[in-house]
Amino acid sequence: MSAIGWQVLDVVNAIVLTYFALLNSFYLLTTLAAFTSLRVHARRLKALDIKDLFSAAGVPAVTVIVPTHNEELNCVEVTTALLQLTYPRYEVIIANDGSVDATMARLQEAFDLVAVPRAPTAAIPTAEVSGEFQSRTDPRLWVIDKVNGGKSDAINAALNVCRTPLFGVVDSDSLLERDALERVVRPFIVDASTIASGGIIRIVNGCKVENGKVTDIRLPRNLLARFQVLEYLRAFLAGRVGWSVLNASLIISGAFGVFRRSIVVDAGGFDRQTVGEDMELVVRLHRYCRDKDIPYRIYFVPDPVAWTACPETLLTFGRQRARWQRGLMESLWKHRSMLGNPGYGRIGMVAYPYFVLLEALGPVIEFLGYSGFLIAVLSHRASTLYIVAFLMLAVVFGTTLSVASVALEELVFRRYQRSRDLLRLFVLAVLENVGYRQITTYWRMHGVVSYFCGGKAWGRVERTRFRTQKAA
């Protein structure tokens, strides 16, 4: 290689080092913030009786919207679980987005649906709605049958007939805990400026599900799923809590979030052009409220739980991660005027730059880092000692952050009752640095390439049935 080539390599390595330092510093900062916040939160729950808060009349009515596509395996179980929530005032709208399997037939049979028109309360453009149905066995349940238009389109179709002040979006493969809605709505009750609130997503793979309720929480047997359990703990307990403490949340998970209906409708509903509709909406809400000087808060509440199945095959996992990366980039590009813009406060000056430089460009930089490292090793240009030392630092740093997330989990929630599951999580915290992270980077890079090549598809999603036991 020429001298210029080596200089380029040095510059690339410098960028990679800087990225590594910045990324892990942010993770460390959010983890530390999360430690303090979660301890306070756990004690706060002890001071307040949730049921007591809701015992008097006055809780806002909520519409739970479930966008559904080809969910014949789980749709009845998920819907049954949603109708058993302890929240006093809510209804459920299943938005069947052009399923080609037996989803509609299963719902029809299980809930005795009858055609009842539903008057619109908003006019967000959507694909054609072919029918509206209400359940005769539980009038709180409505089903909208529509032509396929995508997840955002399905949510918007339900939003167009939503008549409650709040609405929640729950993924069709998620199981909400019975009191999850009460907990996630809490910020709306105690803080009138709340416009959105999100809960935590946990992996249901390997757990026992009985009558729509997760009864025995275990780590999955599948290794890929186990890594994702750890990753979700890190992402939610350390990441989302930390960003919420900094009042700079850019994401509420599309699997479980509650929003103020009027604000979302005024902001235009969910964007049909992006696969990252959850992040795009939250970023747009920040922008909309700041542009219009509307006082607002967005909360992440760590105790309400939605259980969701994660991919157990590399291909499905890869498609999911590529899609998430694409969605991230689409959302960030769409609102790029917020980047570094002091008019948007911490969102523009801290959160946005972080997501652009460290999350969106992250896979590119990591990819360059691995390539640069390989070149340095093969050309004997780099000192072996330095390479080993740097690799050790990278592995140990990543391990430490993951161990911290497991510690947070044990400190506050203690969902994994088996001590061996805890030990397994520690082992996974080490192992994920050798293989899992690299696979994730590869698929995220796939997402980056797909974004620049104009990819739009979701890809085929495999569904597995919840491991259900009938009640004794």
């Binding site: 040095d10 307040l48 006055g58 806002p60 009750i189 009138a192 330095y386 391990t399 044990e410 203690r414």
Partner: protein, 354 residues
């Protein structure tokens, strides 16, 4: 960077990297060890509490049934378990009928001094938890501490203290809260209303007074109106009419309309009809609902007019109102016509309610 630095100052950088690695490794090990230790401690503690509660539950049942006196509880609980015993009693505190509640409070009385002594004014959550315990189980004895908590800087502490005082139903306790209207400002109107409604019948005259007092802030009068709805206070209807005649704030007007809907009568409909033509669609919608509740079939004509309202929210209320006023025939005609809202009429006719 690695390659260039290696040629210039190899030792410092390498030293830094190794030092960071070692420190982080030590931190990871320490956290993992602490987590496992915490797991063991939590498991043992949970087992201990389970065993303790297995002995407390039958003892409490015997106290509540009168076989033991409440004072005997103090002898059976070790000093180090007293705060835990109070938490145990708190679990039952809101679910018991009146007499049992009084016995529970007497049972707790010997332990509450420990709670009061353990109050931490620095730790907001711990303070709120102590106030929650004192307010639920010992309001009479520790009222001064709870009123003091109303002025603490933590909104959580204020909330817990206010709830305890309001729930007591005693006039002096309620006045202590209402003298601090700023407490309510950040809460949603419905939450503030539920807090005020929990104050019980003793508070109702005070609430009526606030509702009719035009010098009070509109947001407070709105919360009060909502609370009076929860209390089903019939005597507030005449005050609501006076408020409707002068109020300009839309939230206050809406809350007052809803109050009339719950507590008013046919004599109150003239002022409601005036609000049916408000420029604010939310007021029109609520006025239509109130007219449905208070009016008669002679209002069908007006309700039919509101079915054509530019706002879909008003239209749906008008449709529901017509159904309530035995206007099925009108709705059927609309449903089978070419009216742009024919579907709405059909929905209201077909919809089942839970």
């Amino acid at each position: 960077m690695i390659t260039t630095a290696a040629a210039v100052q190899p030792n410092w950088m390498l030293f830094g990297v190794v030092l960071c690695t070692v420190l982080l490794f030590a931190a990871a090990l320490a956290m993992a060890a602490y987590t496992m230790y915490l797991r063991l401690v939590n498991q043992r503690t949970a087992e201990r509490w389970r065993d303790l509660e297995r002995t407390w539950e039958p003892a409490l049942a015997k106290i509540l049934s009168g076989h033991y006196s409440p004072g005997t509880a103090l002898n059976g609980v070790r000093r180090r378990d007293r705060l835990r015993f109070v938490d145990f009693l708190l679990r039952y505190a809101t679910g018991l009928p009146g007499d049992d509640q009084a016995i529970l409070v007497r049972t707790a009385s010997g332990f509450l001094k420990d709670v009061a002594h353990s109050i931490s004014y620095v730790d907001n959550e711990a303070y709120a938890h102590s106030i929650h315990a004192l307010g639920t189980l010992g309001l009479e004895t520790f009222k001064a501490e709870i009123v003091t908590a109303l002025d603490h800087h933590s909104p959580l502490v204020n909330l817990v203290a206010a709830r305890a005082l309001l729930r007591s139903g005693r006039r002096d306790s309620i006045e202590a809260v209402l003298r601090r209207p700023a407490l309510f400002k950040n809460w949603s109107a419905s939450f503030a209303a539920s807090m005020l409604a929990a104050a019980g019948p003793e508070a109702v005259p005070l609430l009526r007074q606030i509702l009719g007092d035009t010098t009070r802030p509109d947001w407070l009068r709105t919360a009060v109106a909502e609370a009076l709805i929860d209390r089903n206070d019939g005597a507030a209807a005449d005050i609501a009419v006076e408020v409707l005649q002068e109020a300009k704030d839309s939230e206050l007007v809406i809350a007052t309309l809803r109050l009339l809907e719950r507590t008013g009568n046919a004599g109150h409909t003239p002022v409601v009809r005036q609000r049916c033509d408000s420029p604010d669609f939310a007021i029109r919608a609520n006025a239509v609902s109130t007219l449905a509740a208070l009016g008669s079939s002679s209002d069908l004509h007006q309700l039919r007019r509101h079915f054509d309202d530019p706002s879909g929210w008003v239209a749906i209320r008008a449709a529901w109102a017509m159904k309530e006023q035995s206007g099925d025939e009108v709705l059927r005609n609309l449903a089978t016509s070419h009216h742009p809202r024919a579907n709405l009429a059909l929905q209201v006719l077909s919809e089942q309610t839970s």
